[in-house]
């Protein structure tokens, strides 16, 4: 009797428990089904204040045009965004339209998470004619899987007030790398023990400087970071050694800065403790909000007559489990997000550049004191074909620590970075 009662209780509570779950599921279903006329789609992007605010505005505009569609924006902190996306894959749930970093696309396309954009609405020729060539990084096996609203490139930011204090012309930024180092030395202030009170230039490999080493310095030293098919690392070469010697010397010999100064370069530049930084166009929105910061932007300094920059983009794709009405609505939303109107608004609000050449390369934008340098550098910028950006960034951070903390030779440090990265590339391409 006693045992029976227990069994009864257990099974009762099991049934109750599953009822609750079932009911919750039903309610979910009902909400979706009953909406009938209105199709609801979900949009994911990482949280960046100006972006998420603008998106709210854009969604309002879109919904006014399409009263039968409702778009729900969900954002996640940047640090967890990729994890969040990845963990939504095995469960087969998630958004309909999703904003992904171009470097992550291979992973998500391989896993079948994204569906190719239908050529009826997004013909390849039209994309290739209208968008910047770097957008081809979103093309796999002949199909485009995602399209950006905006692209970004790197440029040099300089603090005009600090230039004046150092006796430099505040309107004359460095044009060559040699000038960059000279200026940085003049702009660095240390106490009598050699501690930095103000640094001349950012050395933040964790932020944008790994791009500077990889796509700018190595090329300026006459090398290339990767083979043409992107499958092999080629910076374990004299050009790679020269580039990294130059970079580590900025701290060891020229003494114009160090990583982590004031915790990170954005903080340091914002607070006027760093005179020059290399950052993306997306930073314009942040820096314009800082009171009392009087800064200018210019193209990255050239060396040996070579100009280079790094370009990248976040692109919007549609998940493969989106079908029927939701797919129709998602395609309309994607069309809206890649429209000229939205691209112009995006530039004003975020500082990211229109992804369409005709829109970006107007004289008005090319000569704009803030966007201009970024737009001009798009013509010679390179978009690294990343497979796993976090690994590809970390090899440079470790190489730097090996040289600066462990007194390793440049050659050993760079070779080790190359070997680690090659191993990762091999394991990716060999599984194709």
């Amino acid at each position: 009797m006693k045992r029976n009662a227990i069994v009864l209780m257990v099974s009762l509570s099991l049934i109750l428990f599953s009822q609750v779950l079932f009911a919750a599921g039903q309610a979910d279903q009902a909400q979706k089904g009953d909406a009938g006329e209105v199709t609801e789609i979900v949009y994911w992007q990482y949280f960046y204040e100006t972006k998420s605010k603008l998106m709210d505005k854009l969604i309002e505009m879109f919904e006014a045009e399409h009263p039968d569609i409702r778009v729900v924006q969900q954002t996640f902190p940047y640090e967890q965004y990729n994890t969040k996306v990845a963990s939504s894959v095995p469960s087969g749930t998630g958004p309909n339209v999703i904003n992904l970093y171009y470097g992550w696309l291979p992973t998500y396309i391989d896993s079948g998470y994204l569906q190719p954009l239908p050529t009826s609405q997004f013909p390849n020729e039209k994309i290739e004619q209208e968008f910047f060539p770097l957008v081809r990084a979103a093309k796999f096996d002949g199909s485009y899987y995602a399209l950006p609203t905006a692209v970004r490139s790197l440029a040099l930011f300089w603090n005009k007030d600090l230039f004046k204090e150092a006796g430099l012309d505040p309107e004359r930024p460095p044009r060559t790398v040699e000038e960059l180092v000279d200026f940085a030395e003049m702009l660095t202030i240390t106490d009598k023990n050699g501690n930095y009170l103000q640094t001349g230039l950012t050395l933040e490999l964790r932020a944008q400087m790994h791009h500077w080493v990889r796509e700018v310095l190595i090329r300026q030293m006459g090398g290339t970071p990767y083979s043409d098919d992107n499958r092999s690392v080629t910076y374990d070469s004299q050009a790679g050694y020269d580039a990294f010697t130059f970079f580590t010397d900025l701290h060891l010999k020229n003494k114009v800065g160090m990583p982590n100064f004031m915790t990170d370069d954005v903080t340091a530049f914002k607070s006027g403790a760093m005179a020059m930084t290399i950052d993306g166009s997306f930073r314009l929105g942040t820096l314009d909000g800082v009171q009392g910061l009087n800064y200018g932007v210019t193209e990255l300094p050239s060396m040996n007559g070579i100009s280079s920059s790094f370009a990248s983009f976040w692109a919007n794709g549609i998940t493969s489990f989106t079908t029927g009405k939701e797919l129709e609505a998602s395609l309309k939303f994607l069309e809206f997000l890649t429209s000229d109107e939205v691209m112009s608004m995006w530039l004003d609000a975020i500082g990211e550049l229109p992804a369409k050449q005709a829109l970006a390369l107007t004289d008005e934008f090319r000569n704009n004191p803030k966007y201009g340098p970024f737009i001009r550098s798009l013509e010679y910028a390179h978009a690294t074909k990343f497979i796993d950006e976090s690994v590809q960034r970390k090899v440079w951070i470790d190489a730097y620590d090996q040289v600066v903390l462990n007194n390793a030779s440049i050659r050993d440090a760079v070779n080790e970075a190359a070997a680690t990265e090659q191993k990762m590339l091999d394991s990716y391409y060999n599984s194709k």
């Binding site: 009797m1 006693k2 009662a5 227990i6 209780m9 257990v10 509570s13 099991l14 428990f17 640090e79 990729n82 994890t83 990845a86 963990s87 894959v89 095995p90 992973t107 998500y108 391989d110 896993s111 079948g112 998470y113 106490d191 023990n193 501690n195 930095y196 009170l197 964790r206 160090m258 990583p259 982590n260 100064f261 004031m262 915790t263 403790a273 796993d388 976090s390 690994v391 970390k394 951070i397 470790d398 620590d401 090996q402 903390l405 462990n406």
Partner: protein, 299 residues
């Protein structure tokens, strides 16, 4: 009507107790135990979270693990955290508790003071200490060093200083917990033993050695076991105090759990990460069994 004999109030009570316990049991089965066992299976696959297939690859993950220098580095870092963190926090917890126990006044104030860090969020502690450790002009520690004419220290940016620098706030927060439990243990020892010992002429040291410590043994066992597990699973501090949660510089502060987290949620190498969790599980199991055995055999 006569109530069946087996249906006493006692039984009704018990049934209700079981009914209430079913919910947590279900919760633990689905949320805790199922994933735990699933991890054993995952460790034998090459699952990368985003692909649909989980291919069985036997012991390959374990073989790769034993050849991975970072795995050994994180294992030795974890050992460091346990071997330095636990004894220091245990000893300081005991010394503080022993002295607070002898206070006539202000016991509550001291208890609150030392316990505060423990109830503070580890993330908050980690970030505050991270700022304290920064180079001048931000970091307070370095500013003090400079003001008394000493050279700046690298702290979190040095391969040798970073791990102790992360351990310091961990111990600082942990001491409060050890102290409170020790204090409870000390209060549980009857005054009569000490009075008798005093009559027999035992001094403070004798009392500590022959009365306090032996009678505190259950407390010590509890604190060592829970402490070992806590230090073995160290994660939050390192994630928040090392730059971008890398466990750097050059993996010098990266504990095993952080490596598991990176493998699983950054490299998406779930199989490899699962293999590491299995190893960590075995280590924790082994240490706990050894500790229980050692403590029991001494009885």
């Amino acid at each position: 009507m006569k109530r069946p004999q087996s249906y006493t109030i006692e039984h009704t009570k018990r049934i209700w107790a079981y009914t209430f316990l079913v919910v947590p049991v279900l919760f633990y089965l689905t949320i805790r135990f199922y994933p735990t066992f699933y991890a054993f299976f995952l460790s034998l696959t090459d699952w990368d979270i985003v692909s649909r297939d989980k291919n069985f690859i036997g012991l390959t993950n374990y073989r790769n693990l034993f050849q991975d220098p970072i795995f050994w580095k994180t294992l030795s870092n974890t050992g460091f955290y346990v071997l330095y963190g636990l004894p220091i926090s245990l000893l300081s917890g005991f010394i503080l508790a022993y002295n607070i126990d002898r206070l006539k006044k202000g016991e509550g104030v001291f208890k609150a003071l030392y316990f505060l860090p423990y109830i503070t969020s580890m993330v908050a502690i980690a970030w505050v200490w991270r700022w304290l450790y920064q180079p001048a002009p931000i970091g307070v520690f370095n500013k003090i060093l400079i003001s008394i004419g000493l050279p700046q220290q690298k702290f979190l940016f040095s391969q040798t200083q970073a791990l102790p620098s992360i351990l310091a706030p961990t111990i600082w927060a942990d001491v409060g917990f050890q102290l409170i439990i020790f204090l409870a243990g000390l209060k549980g020892i009857s005054r009569q033993y000490y009075e008798a010992a005093e009559i027999d002429g035992a001094d403070n040291w004798d009392q500590l050695r022959y009365i306090t410590l032996p009678l505190l043994k259950p407390t010590i066992v509890f604190l060592i076991i829970t402490g070992t597990i806590r230090y073995l699973r160290i994660f939050t501090q390192v994630l928040n105090m090392s730059y971008q949660g890398e466990g750097g510089p050059l993996n010098s502060t990266k504990p095993l759990v952080l490596y598991i987290y990176h493998s699983a949620f950054q490299q998406f190498d779930m199989g490899y990460a699962a293999a590491m969790t299995v190893i960590l599980f075995l280590i924790i199991l082994m240490i706990t069994l050894i500790q229980l055995k050692v403590m029991k055999s001494e009885d």
